[in-house]
Amino acid sequence: MLRYDSTSSSAGSSSGSLSSSSSSSKPPQQDIDGLLAGAGYKVRSSELRQVAQRLERLETAMGNSPADFSQLASDAILYNPSDLACWVDSLLTEFAEPPPTCSSDFIVDPVNNQTVVNSAWTTAEPHTPQVHQNITYDEQQSLDNQLTVVTAMEEDSGIRLVHMLMTCAECVQSGDLSLATSLIGDMQGLLTHVNTVCGIGKVAGHFIDALSRRIFQGMGGGSVNGGSAFENEILHHHFYEACPYLKFAHFTANQAILEAFDGHDCVHVVDFNLMHGLQWPALIQALALRPGGPPLLRLTGIGPPSPDGRDSLREIGLRLAELARSVNVRFAFRGVAASRLEDVKPWMLQVNPKEAVAVNSIMQLHRLLGSEQTRNSPIDTVLSWIRGLNPKIMTVVEQEANHNQPGFLDRFTEALYYYSTMFDSLEACRVQPEKALAEIYIQREIGNVVSCEGSARVERHEPLAKWRRRLSGAGFRALHLGSNAFKQASMLLTLFSAEGYSVEENEGCLSLGWHSRPLIAASAWQAVPAWDNHMSSS
C-alpha cells in the first residue's frame, strides 16, 4: 500500500498545500492557471507543460496494460486530486516508472524505445486571448465570500417566516428592540401555519426562541449551554446515534491515526473531549488487528470534572480497558478533569518522548476562539503546547460553518441555513428517542450561537478554510486524507444512513454534508519541525 505524502514529492512538482507556510518566494496563487482553477485544479502556468508530459507518460503506461488498471485503481490510495501535478505523479508511481527528476523535452517511449520529440506545443498553440490566461486567481477572496444555501420547496408562509426572522435579527443588530419584540410575537403566530416537519419551519421555532432569549434575558444566556455535563453527554450520545456526523468524525480521525501509528510500538492518544469514549473501541480493535501486532496504547481523556464525587472519566476508562483486555491490546488510561480546554497544561498529559502521540480534537478547538483576536489568546496557547508535544498527528474535526463572524446578522443568517440543513438531514432518522434528543442537542448549539456573547458564547464555528490558515500559521502542515478514507466514509454512509448525505474531498480534507452543503469537516495535521518554519512567531 503506497502512502503518497505530497510534502516529500519529487523535484518539479508543486507543493501539496497552498497554505503551507514554507512556500517559495513567489506567492503560488498568482502563477496558477486561472481557467484550470475554475475547473477545480491548481496547476501553475509554468508547470503546465510538465504536467502535460507526465499525462502523456501515464497514458502510454496505461496503454501497455489496460486490464490491470481498474484493479490497481481500486487498491491504490490517491491524495489531493486538485493538485494535478502531484496527483499525476502519484499515479505514475503506481503504474509506471517514477517521473524523471529533470524535465526534458524528450519522452522515451518505453514500448518502442523511440524518442518522441515533444516540440508540438512550442509552435502550434492556437491563438488564445491572453487576458483569459492570466486571470489572477484569488483564492482568499473566493473563500471568504462563501454562503452556501440548500433549500427545500417552501410554501409562502415558510418564506415569510424567513423574511421576518431576518428582519428581526437586523433589528436586534441595530438595537431596535421594540420592533424586534413585536416581530417575535408575529412570528410565533405564523409558526402555527407553517409546516414544522421539515426545512425552515422545523428550525424556525428554535431560532425564534433564541432571538427572544437574546432580547429579553440579555446575552449572558447562561442557562442555554449550561446543562450539566451529564446531560450534555447523554444528548451527545443520542446525536451520535441519530445521524452520521460524529461517526464520520470518529471514523475518519481513527483512520488517519491508525496510519500515523504505523510502525510504532508505543502510542499515546490525547482526546480533547472524552464524553462516553465512543470513538475508541473501533481504534482499539483496529490496532488489535494490525499486522505485526498491537502497540502499547495509552489514552488520555480530557473532560469536565463530575459533580457529586463520581469520576466519570475513570469509569469510561475502565470500560475501554476491559475492551482492550478482551482483544489483547496493552492499554493504559488517564483522565484529566478540566472545565475548559485552556485550563489543561501539557505536563498533565505526561507524554513520554519515546511514544508516538496523536492529538484528537472533535469539535473542541472552536471553543478556544474568543471574539477578539489577541495575542496569546487561548487558541494560540493551546496550539503552541500541542506543537511542543510534537505529535505524529493531530486530527481536527469542526463544524463547517461561519458562526464566529462579528456581525450578528451575518452570523444569524449563516446559522439559519446551516441548522435548517442539519435538521433536514435529521428527518431521515427513524429511531426515537435518539432523534428527539439529537434535536435538543442541536437546539442548544443554536441557542449558544444566537443568544450568547462574550465568554458565554463557546460555539464559535469557523470554516475549514479559516482553520487551514490558522493552523498553518501556528506551525502545522496538512497531512492529506486519501481516497481510502473517502471510500470508507462513503461506504459507511451507504450502509448506515439515509440517502442524501455526501462526502467531499477538498485539498486533502474530507467533509460530510447533506446534499451539496458540507456540514462537518475533518482534517489531519502534523507539526512542522521548528528549523523548517520560516514563519515562526516569536
Binding site: 523511440q114 454562503l147 462513503s490 446534499h515
Partner: protein, 373 residues
Amino acid sequence: MGRSKEVNLNECKMVVPLNTWVLISNFKLAYNLLRRPDGTFNRHLAEFLDRKVPANANLVDGVFSFDVLIDRGTSLLSRIYRPATAEEPQPNIAELEKPVTAEVVPVIIFFHGGSFAHSSANSAIYDTLCRRLVRLCKAVVVSVNYRRAPENRYPCAYDDGWTALKWVNSRPWLQSQKDSKVHIYLAGDSSGGNIAHHVALRAIESGIDVLGNILLNPMFGGQERTESEKRLDGKYFVTLRDRDWYWRAYLPEGEDRDHPACNPFGPNGRSLEGIKFPKSLVVVAGLDLIQDWQLAYVEGLKKAGQEVKLLYMEQATIGFYLLPSSNHFHTVTDEISKFVSSDSIKTIGERIMQCIGPLLCVDYVCLFKCFLG
C-alpha cells in the same frame, strides 16, 4: 500500434490549447480508472476525484446560486443560478426565490454531461459553465443533478429531467412579467444533450411549452459503426470502446444501441413529423467520433420538418466549451445567446443579426459595423 499512438498524441496537442489538453486528458485518464470491464463503476473513487464547488448565495461576477431539493424521494437536487439585476445589485439572502422582474427572462434547464455516469451539477466545470450561461443569456439557469448510470439506468435520467421541467414550469417566481409564463429552454452537453432531447419529447403532449433545445456535442449512437467512429476512434480523447461501455451502463440490460434512447431516429425511433417539437441548436465538434450520429440527429429533425440549426465546429474536440480559451468557444456562446434571445428581440440591430444567421465563423459585430458604414 505504438507508432500511430505517437501520431495521435501529437495531432491532438496541435488542435487544442495546452490547458484544455491537460484538463481533458486528465479526465480521460481518470475515467479509465473508474470504468470496470465487468460494467460496474468505481463510484467512490469517482466522487473522490470529481472537483466540486458549493453554491454561493453571495454575488460572484454578477451571479449567485443556491441549491434546491426538488424531489425528496429521489434526492433530486438542482442548482439555481440567477443574475444580479439593476434593481437588486446584491440579492437579499432571504429572497433567493424572489420573482424575476424583467419582461422576459429565459430559464435554461441545464443537464450536465458525463456520458450518463460522470459529474454532478456541483462539479466545478459545470458550475463554471452555468455561470457563463447566466451572464451570456441574462437567464436563470437550473442545473439538474440527475441520477447516473450504471446504478440508475434508463429512464431515471429522463424521469429526473421531466420532474425538473415540471418543477420549473410551476414556479411563480420564474414567470416572465410579459405573459406570466415561464420561458423554458432545455440545454445540455454530451449525455445532457441526449437528456434534453428526450425531456422535450416527453413534454410534447403535456402542455408545457419548451421554447428551444440547445444540444452541445449531444450523446447519440447506434448499433452500426459509422465512418466517423472508425476514422476518429482513439484519436481525440475518446474511444469507441468507452462509448460502448457507457451505453451498456445506461441502456436497459440486454438492449442494444438501436434503443430509441440512444438512437432516436433509428429503427426503433419515433417520427416527429407533425409534432410540435421545440426549435433546436445543435453544436457538433468536427473531431468528435460520434459526429455521424449527431449529424443524423440533425437530419432526422429536418426531415420531420422541425426547426434546427447546426453549428459544425471543424477543429473542435469534445469538451471544447469547458474552457474559454478557443475561438470555437466564443462562436458557440454567441450563437447560444442569439438562440435564447431571439424570442424577445428588442433592437433593429439584433433583428439584422438574426437575418444574417446561417453564416458560420463570422464576426457578427464586424459585419454589422460594415453594414452601417
